[in-house]
Symmetry: C2
DNA sequence: ACCTGAACACCGTTCAAGT
DNA sequence: ACCTGAACACCGTTCAAGT
């Protein structure tokens, strides 16, 4: 369906589309060629082999991950705001982000955010190694949460429902029906995320 | 090289070995057959296709993830101890655990740990939905941290060293050489992990 | 400089056939 | 019940050849 001459950018566009729709494994060189209406071998001329095509995709994704604009009055609020913004950006292109993670380039992707976090932690009065640790703790938590969230979404129905574990209330029963009910319900990720980040930050910024 | 008759267990053992050594993609049906000294098709007779072989591997990994024995005097200490134990178990078989994650079965794998966490959170005086949230926050943090850690290990050297970002101290300089130095150094994961979990738990258990 | 088809070495999987 | 080789439809990649 492609009439214009084949170009590196066109290839990357089509490849990114395929990855976002069917995952990395859904991107085959032959399928990509078909999508572009060219011979497979033409792709090799423009972008090299599959691996370097994926590398290019990752690089583009890194550049697209824009700057972060924190909102809120207190450092804590601004850190939470950075975290939430980041989570949304990451979740907007899950498959491409997964490729960034797999290549271990998460840190690089997080540099703008890290800068913002350093600013806020500094504003809150932390200095030196202590400040660095706080920044890293928050950073790990944000990325980690999104990764866990993604994994969970792949198997929406957990085989033994989380709730049924607690009806064997024999040994040291947590006879707390509200707790059991809460654990049986699927979590609200957005809420849990905000709550977690806020809890962690509150503790890290405390003297 | 296998002389004994082909058995399902033998296949799973060899497959697990190949996965742990070369990752999931390193497990090919033909390679596995060669390793076992049989025809590829024999494997299909015993375990079905590749996908159900991987499923079986995941199931076995789930069962192997043993119970957790928390240590320490305070609930906080015991939660941290559970977290550390879990991290070690997860890191002992990274590739197999990755498969569990990919299938979204992390929750199921975490059931024994979740039970322990509920106990401690309850002991600390939390009840109902509040307790459930605390448990989940800790759970997400543990798994998330390990996932991030694994990703990081795949690209030991980050292209633009984290430190060099801060020498452009023009706009709002964090003129904090100790902080810059700390961020330039690679983090100590074990330390960062304990610190993070402890910080989060302290905040969650606070009234 | 750009594009092509043919060919190679790999996959997972199926099937009819052996014992 | 268990194992086999041949065959199929897919891969990524290379290469010599076209324009």
């Amino acid at each position: 369906m492609a009439r214009s001459p084949l170009t590196r950018t066109a290839i990357l566009d089509a490849a990114a589309e395929m990855v976002q729709q069917h995952g990395v494994q859904g991107l085959t060189m032959r399928g990509l060629a078909a999508e572009l209406g060219t011979a497979v071998t033409s792709i090799y001329w423009h972008v090299g082999n599959r691996e370097s095509l994926l590398d290019a995709l990752v690089e583009r994704t890194l550049q697209e991950m824009g700057a972060i604009r924190p909102g809120g009055r207190t450092p804590t609020d601004r850190i939470v705001s950075v975290a939430r913004g980041l989570r949304h950006e990451l979740r907007a292109r899950p498959h491409l982000i997964a490729m960034v993670h797999e290549r271990g380039l998460t840190d690089q992707m997080f540099l703008p955010a890290q800068r913002a976090l350093v600013r806020e932690v500094h504003a809150a009065g932390l200095r030196g190694a202590r400040a660095a640790q706080a920044v890293r703790a928050v950073q790990f938590q944000i990325v980690g949460f999104v990764l866990v969230e993604r994994n969970r979404e792949r198997a929406p129905i957990q085989s033994p429902a989380e709730g049924e574990l607690w009806d064997t209330g024999d040994h040291d029963p947590a006879e707390d029906p509200a707790l059991v009910r809460a654990l049986a319900r699927p979590p609200d990720p957005e809420r849990l995320f905000t709550l977690s980040v806020r809890a962690l930050v509150r503790s890290l910024l405390a003297t």
